[in-house]
């Protein structure tokens, strides 16, 4: 049987969800037999090709992240949002009660350790969006595994269900938002 192709992206987040993905113990061996990781921070492949499952860690907070997640949608049959940031906005969404200009000023000018700071503006630095968004407000998402980071157990459940051809909904006893 051909391996199922999976791509994963790491957007605005801490990478904890990817860590948790690698924290599934022996299941990782099982998984390696069944799936092939294409573009992913784990493989370091930079280009998209068509995959069955696209996994998103992180929320969408700047132009680049928006573009990446839109491309992933384009190339994936199923999108799974992994972790609180992807599902709800998470820690990154803390800035959403503040004004974007104030956030930039605080980060690049006002911080006590900054001397003559200035807000970087160059074509190479993606613009912040006005707010940080959970993934489902940018693209269509098919399933979710919340948690900060998600429990390995919940990730395992989600992937197993997907591999069995079902859309997973994490059961109550595996749900964690922290």
């Amino acid at each position: 049987m051909a391996k199922v192709k999976i791509a994963t992206v790491w957007l605005e987040s801490c990478s904890g969800c990817h860590m948790s993905l690698l924290d599934v113990d022996l299941f990782i061996v099982e998984l390696a037999k069944l799936v092939e990781f294409r573009r992913s921070p784990i493989t370091d492949i930079k280009d998209f090709d068509d995959v069955v499952v696209g996994i998103v860690e992180g929320s969408v907070g700047n132009e680049e992240e928006k573009e990446v997640v839109e491309q992933l949608r384009h190339h994936s049959q199923i999108i799974m949002a992994l972790g609180d940031c992807a599902c709800f906005g998470g820690v990154c969404a803390m800035r959403n009660t503040l004004d974007k200009a104030d956030v930039l000023k605080r980060a690049y000018i006002d911080t006590p350790s900054t001397y003559k700071g200035k807000i970087p503006r160059s074509p190479g630095v993606p613009e912040l969006l006005d707010k940080v968004y959970p993934v489902n407000q940018i693209i269509k998402v098919d399933c979710y595994v919340p948690g900060c980071p998600p429990e390995p157990e919940a990730i395992k459940y989600g992937l197993t269900e997907l591999l069995a051809g079902r859309i997973p909904v994490v059961p109550s006893n595996m749900m964690r938002f922290d």
Binding site: D84, P134, V169, V170, M175, F177, D178
Partner: protein, 650 residues
Amino acid sequence: MSEITLTINGQQCKGKQGDTILDVCQANGIDVPTLCHYKGLVDIAACRMCLVEVEKERKPVPSCTYPARDGLVVTTNSEKIEKYRRMILELLFTERNHLCAYCVASGDCELQKLAYKYQMDNTRYEYSWPDKTTDTSHPYIVLDHNRCILCARCIRVCDEITGAHALDFSKRGWKTNVSADINQPLGESSCISCGACFQVCPTGAIFSKASAYKGRTSECTTVFSSCPICGVGCDIKGLVKDNHVVKIESPDLTKPRGLLCQMGRFETLYTPAERVRTPMKRNSKGQLTACTYEEAFEDIAKNLGSNGSVAGLASGKASSESLKAFAELMDKGFGSKMVDTLDGDDFRTVTMGMTKFDAKAGFATEAKLEDILTADSIVVIGANPIKTHPVIGSYILRAAAKNKANLVVVDPLRNPFTFRTSVWVRPAEGKKALAIKAIIRAIMEQGKTAKAPANFAEIDIKKAAKDLEVDSHDLFQAGEILAGSKNGIIIYGEGVLQYKDADMVALILNLAALINTQPRVISLKRYGNSRGAWDLGISNAKSSVIDELAKGKVKGVYLLLADDLAESQSLADSLKRVEFVVAQASYLSPVTAKASVVLPSLLWTESKGSYTTLDGIQKSTVPMVKPGNDIKPDVDTLKEVARHLKKIRA
């Protein structure tokens, strides 16, 4: 009450007339999710989680306010209802800023639990991200509007149980907020810091500074105990993790003495002074240094064993067991008759006053705290219960708000309840006795003379008013209100006892006899176990032993202080002329600084002990944490001192 039968989810369920649908569901073990409902508070159907379908009703109804009727057909678990509930959860999550990953309530939050239950792995609505503030102005509580779901549990508990009504909603619709008073910072509001709102808040919107991030309920062990601090004797539930008290809660807020106050709930979590960790004695340079128990005991025996005049002073904060052992040590060990409590004068004033009124009167004839809740009028004389015994303050506020009890305050000082007071007689300083006489006279003028003392006939109210510097109208009004009272109660405290005037106490009893068939009076005692110490006869000295110390005739004194820091400076001052002072105490204080030997003492959270509430109920503490060092229980320390005294004499 007649029984009714409903069909719930196709099942026959019995309930009582007057029940809501939710009551019947809960009584029959049918799970209906709720958020704003809290047992014992008036239901308001704010959160809509408890929606159910009722046959013939056009739309789902909130089961917490819908009256159950015989024959109703109810569905609590249809697909439609479950869909609505999930929708409500998503709306709640997107309405304010819920970021569980770093929320103080995560793991304990009722909203989060329901989201898990309904497998809410995303929200279909756009987030509102409102710019909400966090009010940290209160010394113990934080009010974080970001997490508030506007369930009004806090508002209801503060009004219905605490009686303070410090909280309410301000603004409307989208802008609705929980506000203290008229939008004051909580720390500057009329909040009395009982912490009930913190206990009932289902989310992280109200939390305690001392408990935040110290451990979730599931990580804690639970210890049921009672609070010995003020003499009310509230039941408590301590949550303990890693030998630290994380949180103190009430096992049931709606039960009598279930409320708790800032002293029990919050102050217990803080350390007011440095602990006495080991025994200490003076070295050759006169400095207090750590020593072994043995060295301390020997030092005491050597210096006080043959010293003729040793006095003993105990704080009413010590447990009855410690006090008993202390009394025995003073009697058998030191052969001393100079034994007293720090509040011995209060005891003598009250008992003498009671005897003056009626030879048979004693503490047993004092009222129970719960009598306040059913009183039709309450007279507070020279006391500020909201400060000294906050739960009694709550009882008074509740009686005034719920039963419309008349509240008459006689005090030159402003009381936090002024807003619920019917009449505030504010006599010039030192003239309370005359004020009471004038009120008695005013009651007599209303024709209620049968039980009034005869010699009061001469009092002229207008003249008295002038002397008291009050409006005579206040006195007449107090008389008018109280003349109609059949079930009145009087609460007095510090402001009366400070004068050491037994006649004033007798006067209060006279007034009490006029407003009830039996005189109902509660004297507010200074310490949590004052009553226990008094019942043990420790304050039986004829006159104050503290006064004796100042005269310089006492050579040595043994102080049993427990965790008492209240009058530390004045007590230290009165020790100036005493040669050898032993202080058995939990904390370093001006008193221990004067001591020749200091012995450590456990805290109530570390030990088992009995306490008698100020109205005579027996309560006991259960240890919640283990003491850090090898500190002996008070009783063992006292017995050891006795043993060493015996040894040196033999």
